[in-house]
Each structure stands twice: as structure tokens, then as C-alpha cells.
Amino acid sequence: MTPMRIAGHEFTSRLILGTGGFPRLGTLDEAIRASGTEMVTVALRRIDAAARGSLVDVLDACGVRVLPNTAGCFTARDAVLTAKLARDAFETEWVKLEVIGDERTLLPDAVELVAAAEQLVDDGFIVLPYTTDDPVLARRLEDVGCAAIMPLGSPIGSGMGINNAYNLRLIREGTALPVILDAGVGTASDAVLAMELGCDAVLCASAISRAEDPVAMARAIRLAIEAGVLARGAGRIPQRRYAEASTQHEGAPEFVHPSDPARAPQA
């Protein structure tokens, strides 16, 4: 696969792995390696003296880039503060910007999202916004200087896949930025579809971390992304309403069976 570029940085892998939901750090470590990912998300939370093992050590050992998120923020103000704290903690300007507007669906708050993105870009951040599948909002995010567009396929952790392929196509057509499907992937076929629709990458967490066998699913989604990229490049056939035979009709024999009533009696 050709590499993907985000903000001038080249990635060979087109899978960004969310680290949320893995039952053990050991499983996360194995899944990162099986996925082939080069960048994983982390969140910031209050320090817990009882926490066992260091997430940062695992990520270091795997040699992956850290993409901090602003999960749990409901206002631009809190998201900007969280991004700044993450920059200090991880020494990175990269941020997966999440500004949530609804607790039940975890859908983004478009107004707060654009406001936060604008402030963070002005402050030198490389902003990767988690957004709805709204093509107009995607354009607004591009206008304020985001480094990629990360539309959802369906709500976070829902595993419903891509609910509106039409909108994803419009987002793809409307921007030169990388488009990364972020949220909704349930299994490998969703990742294939995302790539066939023209996405540059897929970000997923729950589909892998909460699978019965996270390491196997990590490999499955890695291969799915590869399959989707190849299929898109190969150029699919148009969809038709009725069949179109792939075997020519010319030269087909005309069989006449002895029992056929039309058969002429032998002299």
C-alpha cells in the first residue's frame, strides 16, 4: 500500500488503534503488534496510585506514536485545556479532538468542536477532529486548519458500521485532507467498506479490544484495510439491477433430447 500522510508525517499503516477497552495491557501489546498500527490513542485521567503496569511503557516498547484524545469533554473550553495537558504530558502537538454533545449517543457537538479546533490550530496543534458524517461540517473543520477529517460511521462503540455511506462519499469528494473513519466499526467488513468508499484510514478501538479474540480481530482489520485499498484501486464493476452473464452466448449448443415432443420421428 502507498503510505498515508497526515500533517507531513508518513504512515505505512492505515489503521489507528484506540487503546480503550482492552482487558489487559498484555493483550493490548499483542493487538498493537498484530494490527501493524503506528499510532494509538490514549486518554488523560486522574492518576491512580493503585493502577498496575504502565500504559506508556507498553506503547514505548511497541514503538508507536501516541495520539492523545479529549474524550469526555463536553465543551470547547475543557477540550482545549485537556489537549494542552496532553501536550505537556506526552510532548506531542497531535490531538484527537472529541467534543461530545450527547451522553447517550456520544455524538459530537458541532459548534463546540469547530470552536475548539480553531483555538487548538491557532495554538500550534495538529488537530484530528472526531466529527459527525456531515460533509458541510467537514468543510468547516478543514477551513479552520484541521489536519484530517475523522467522521463517524455510527456511534462510538455501537459496532453498527457505516450508517450513511453516501455522506462519507461526499466528505471524501469534498476534501483533500485525509479522511479517517472513526467510530462504528464492528468487524472487518466495515473497515473494507470504509476503504472502498475512499477513506484513507480507519480508527477503531472497541471492535478490536472488545472482540472475543482481540489479537485475531486486530489482524483481521489490518488485512481488511489492505483488501479495501486494493479493491478501491482495482475499480469495482458498476452495480446493476439485473444479471449480466459473464459467459458469451455465441456458440451455445442447441440440445434436442429424445423425449422432447418436438423431436421428429425417425424414418
Binding site: 484506540g18 486518554a43 486522574r46
Partner: protein
């Protein structure tokens, strides 16, 4: 009174942020601190003195999508 991660502490006002971090056993990296909803960069932890009534948030990396 200094509030650290939502809990009242008996730390004395005027303590450095480094002192507060030591009191919770914070690791040397992957940590960020906000005092009264403002980032205090790690370069200032040794000299920043925490005022009375301050609310300190000490954060670190956790798994998250």
C-alpha cells in the same frame, strides 16, 4: 486547604507542585498538571507554589479510544 484530584488534603499551602506530585507518587513521565483549570508546564513544577484553596488535577495516560 489544597484539593488534589477532588480530595481534600492536609498539604500546606505554599508547597511546590513537585511536593504535591511526590505526595501522590506520580511517575516521572506521562503526567500533566492543572491548577485551577490552568496548565502548569512541567518546567515550572519545582518552583510553582500551590496557593490555599487551589484545586490541583494530576493526570496521566489511561487506555482510551
Amino acid at each position: 486547604m489544597i484539593v488534589v484530584n477532588g480530595r481534600d488534603t492536609d498539604l500546606s499551602p505554599g508547597i511546590t507542585l513537585r511536593g504535591v506530585l511526590d505526595s501522590v507518587g506520580a511517575p516521572g513521565r506521562g503526567v500533566a498538571v492543572a491548577v485551577d483549570a490552568e496548565v502548569v508546564p512541567r518546567g515550572e513544577w519545582d518552583v510553582f507554589r500551590v496557593p490555599d484553596g487551589a484545586r490541583v488535577e494530576i493526570l496521566t495516560a489511561v487506555q482510551g479510544g
